[in-house]
Symmetry: C2
Subunit: 317 residues, 2 copies
């Protein structure tokens, strides 16, 4: 029976939520090329590094980044200890739900919001705050926890790569400590395989107990040309596969796929499905995709059309 079981297993589809269109074929062809021992394209397992953007690549980023929803919710929760906020921007805008005033506060306003809601506590306290928020928060359109608004085809791709000896990493413009509390349970990616933007931390002993305090200072922005820098800092070798969804992933895709001597795989998730999720590319504040989409065919990057290439969007309840 062993031979039969193996044969059945080999025939079972590891990517059932992908339609039998070009992207699925491109994925399987690439994985078979680099894992076939003795082939000139063979890549040994320690070099099988795959990197994934998070917002819009692994989970939904519309109508706004989930981490921004979190920050706005935190302002509302923290407001009872900050009566001064009802007269102070950008907090006033958040408390009054005035998105126009919030937008007018610009990047500085956004950094103020992030620092106020993400710093001033220990790393353990922040992880607890994130975990408790995710347990309760629900997306208003889909009425589901944000950690269920992950893409089923991408969960299958992560698992398929790992089953073929790949080490899978998240490389996100989002906050590294915002993702780590749930990356293992949701994506199967352990905390040390998460790369992201960060604020500074400081270590000291407080009453005999070691503390890592989160400081309101930007440490690293893991976006655009920062992504290859973050990949090098955390992973220390060039990936052979990269998946993203916006111009923020352009340099990560270049770093992964161009000028290399072994086969490489680059993929862009194009949001084309307003009915089942969202449709956007050039004209959006969250996940703008323009230059990377234009250059994809020239660089041999696979573009996923969510509407026609994905059978399912989210995991079944």
């Amino acid at each position: 029976w062993f031979a039969i079981a193996t044969a059945v297993q080999a025939q079972s589809d590891p990517l059932p939520s992908w339609n039998d269109t070009a992207p699925k074929k491109a994925i399987v062809t690439f994985v078979e090329r680099v894992t076939k021992e003795g082939s000139p394209d063979f890549v040994p397992a320690p070099a099988r590094i795959a990197v994934f953007d998070n917002d819009g690549t692994l989970w939904t980023e519309h109508p706004m980044y989930t981490q921004l929803v979190f920050a706005l919710d935190r302002v509302k929760t923290m407001a009872k200890d900050h009566p001064e906020w009802k007269d102070k921007q950008p907090f006033k805008a958040v408390l009054e739900g005035d998105l126009k005033a919030l937008a007018a506060a610009g990047e500085k306003g956004l950094v103020d919001l992030i620092m106020t809601t993400h710093a001033g506590m220990t790393d353990d306290q922040f992880a607890t705050i994130v975990t408790e928020w995710l347990a309760k928060a629900r997306d208003p359109r889909f009425k589901r926890p944000y950690t269920e608004l992950v893409y089923q085809p991408m969960l299958e791709l992560l698992a398929y790569l790992r089953a073929n000896g790949f080490k899978t990493f998240i490389v996100s413009g989002g906050g590294i400590e915002f993702m780590r509390p749930w990356s293992e349970s949701v994506y199967g990616v352990p905390p040390d395989q998460v790369v992201g933007s960060s604020i500074k931390t400081e270590f000291f002993m407080r009453d005999g107990v070691p503390v890592l305090l989160r400081l309101p200072q930007v440490n690293f922005v893991d976006d655009k040309a920062g992504k290859p820098v973050g990949i090098n800092a955390h992973i220390g070798q060039r990936p052979i596969a990269a998946v993203g969804n916006s111009d923020g992933d352009l340099q990560m895709l270049q770093w992964t796929t161009l000028g290399a001597s072994t086969p490489r795989f680059g993929m862009i998730i194009h949001h084309t499905d307003a009915e089942r999720e969202y449709a956007y590319d050039r004209d959006t504040d969250f996940g703008r995709l323009d230059e990377a989409l234009a250059i994809a065919p020239i660089n041999g990057w696979t573009v996923v059309d969510m509407k026609s290439d994905w059978k399912e969007i989210f995991p079944h309840k």
Copy 2:
């Protein structure tokens, strides 16, 4: 025969270069406690994180750090393209072998040396320079490549922890990119599990080829209170075991072992063997051990006396 083979395997000693003294017993007791399912001290595999300092903990750091030997050698190699160095400190001191003048150049002189020898090339080029240097360089006392002056008992400890579901990381004050080219082959630690000091890098496209250029600017110093910060940045969870050899590891040992709800293991390698290696603690420029040694018994940290606890120092040729 399967039962017999298993029994033989279970009885074979995973730490043969360790004498049957207290440190070996402490190691085995800790590992058995945290890996015994159903026990109140059980720690699930994803949380079995062990961190190791490098210089003086995994390999020899006397008469000076190997990376400093590398930097001095690089100055000599690069001098033919820099005729001005014969009149310019600290380069003049290096070229003339004048260690007194080199010491007089102080920390600024050292940073100059490091930046000159470690920056200005791509990350790939630097990895090649390190690899080629290590292949040729020999320690003057032991007449062996530096990567053979690693501690056999520590290689066994790394392997023993991994065999028990631990993920092993290097957390060194040394340069992260100086260790990564050889950490996997020498220690079994892949590049993404190496944490260390770093300089800044910059990504750009050059003639259609992606490049990461190493810049002459300090990015992060992974020493003392920087070690818990580096651990948090790269690993994202608190280790349950830490091994170091100097006061530079004090905060890493505190962060790992103090105020925790599950069993923790802290260990200090004390260099006591002038005959087989070196003997030093309070009075040395490389690997000063004072405060951490004094506080070890109070914090329950195991101190390894190299002379009496280790059967072997280096791997056999």
